[in-house]
């Protein structure tokens, strides 16, 4: 946890909840990694900034992957710009047993106090050429982002080609402290 000196009108955002479940077509046995991306005026007050879930198999009716993976973090900031985003990376195993990326997604932690259920669309980078697509199928090295946090930023997205497939459902319980006190209104 980083401890930055934040003075003046500091408010707190606390988000607890879980990465509940996922829906994907065409593969099985997946796990999820998460991390947070936030602006320069933000710092983590408490809680875990990243984590890796268990590997889950699809339900018997072939509809849902369930992780039920807890999230608990609190941020401190003086500026709503750079509001934290939860970045998700879902990985699975291919036919040969290699770790391959199944999708990336991101969602803002809602700034409105209360319980929120968000359905996060997931997408995976596409190979840039047909040859690469075939060789990546054999070698198990599908294209992936060096830093998953790129899906939570606006710069540099124009060169990315993706294929969207699947959703992850995340539940947030958001509590704000001193937000209204320093002149911010959200409701």
């Amino acid at each position: 946890m980083s401890e930055q000196v934040v003075s003046g009108s500091v408010f707190c955002v606390s988000a607890s909840g879980q990465i509940e479940s996922a829906q994907f077509m065409g593969f099985d046995n997946i796990y999820c990694k998460y991390c947070y991306k936030y602006g320069n005026d933000w710092s983590v007050a408490s809680g875990l900034e990243d984590g890796v879930s268990q590997i889950t198999r699809i339900s018997d009716d072939n509809q849902l992957f369930v992780w039920n993976f807890p999230l608990d973090i609190a941020f401190k900031s003086s500026n709503p710009f750079g509001w934290p985003q939860l970045v998700l990376s879902v990985y699975g195993f291919d036919f040969f047993g290699n770790d391959v990326v199944r999708g990336y997604g991101s969602v803002h932690i809602p700034p409105v106090p209360g319980t929120h259920r968000k359905r996060v669309p997931m997408f995976a980078p596409q190979s840039s050429s047909l040859v690469h697509r075939w060789t990546s199928w054999f070698s198990g090295r599908k294209p992936e982002f060096i830093d998953p946090k790129v899906v939570a930023q606006s710069e540099g997205r124009e060169v990315i080609r993706v294929s969207s497939n699947g959703y992850v459902t995340v539940v947030f319980n958001v509590v704000l402290k001193d937000f209204h006190k320093y002149g911010f209104t959200v409701q």
Binding site: G105, P110, E155
Partner: protein, 174 residues
């Protein structure tokens, strides 16, 4: 001064006849407004959906405005483009939305349109499936569009959160 924070995502687009789409977006605002932090223009990724009809961009938008007056409320101009398998890009449709003027969560649908030309334009459009490009892009967000004929295209979905600062002090009710 009063400040407005807008953040969220340019989420998806649906009901388009094509796939492999991306969006170029640009912000317009009046002279009372100033952007302190955040990008005012950008381009999303290109998505080719595997399993569903909706194209997902999930492009984050994060803006911090400071304003001296309510006039010239910010507008977001959207241009949906299509990238074919050879890498060529062609415009598909245009649209715009105003930034929400109420705090909280907003799920916004922007219906887009494309200009139609003469009969010969429409015939060539039938074969090449390219939309006509506007010569003057000001009319996307300005009011004067007389003599222009357009056709409805798909719709762009956005999810935005709006936070105000000091609006109550200046007596602005939203």
């Amino acid at each position: 001064m009063a400040e407005v924070f807008v953040f969220g995502q340019l989420l998806s687009v649906e009901a388009f006849p094509k796939q492999s789409l991306f969006c170029k977006w640009k912000l317009h605002f009046g002279t009372n407004w100033k952007v302190l932090e955040g990008l005012t223009t950008g381009q999303t990724q290109v998505d080719e959906p595997q399993a569903q009809e909706t194209t997902y961009w999930c492009h984050p938008i994060d803006l911090h405005f400071v304003t001296k007056g309510i006039q010239g409320w910010p507008k977001l101009e959207l241009q949906v483009w299509h990238q074919d398998s050879f890498g060529r890009c062609n415009i598909c449709s245009y649209g715009f939305i105003h930034m929400p003027s109420q705090g909280g969560y907003h799920k916004i649908t922007c219906h887009t349109w494309r200009p139609i030309g003469s009969l010969s334009d429409q015939i060539s459009q039938f074969f090449t499936e390219d939309s006509l490009k506007l010569m003057n892009e000001e009319i996307i967000t300005n009011e004067n569009r007389s003599r222009l004929q357009t056709q409805a295209m798909g719709s762009v979905n956005l999810e935005l959160y709006v936070v105000f600062k000091n609006f109550e002090i200046y007596g602005i009710e939203t």
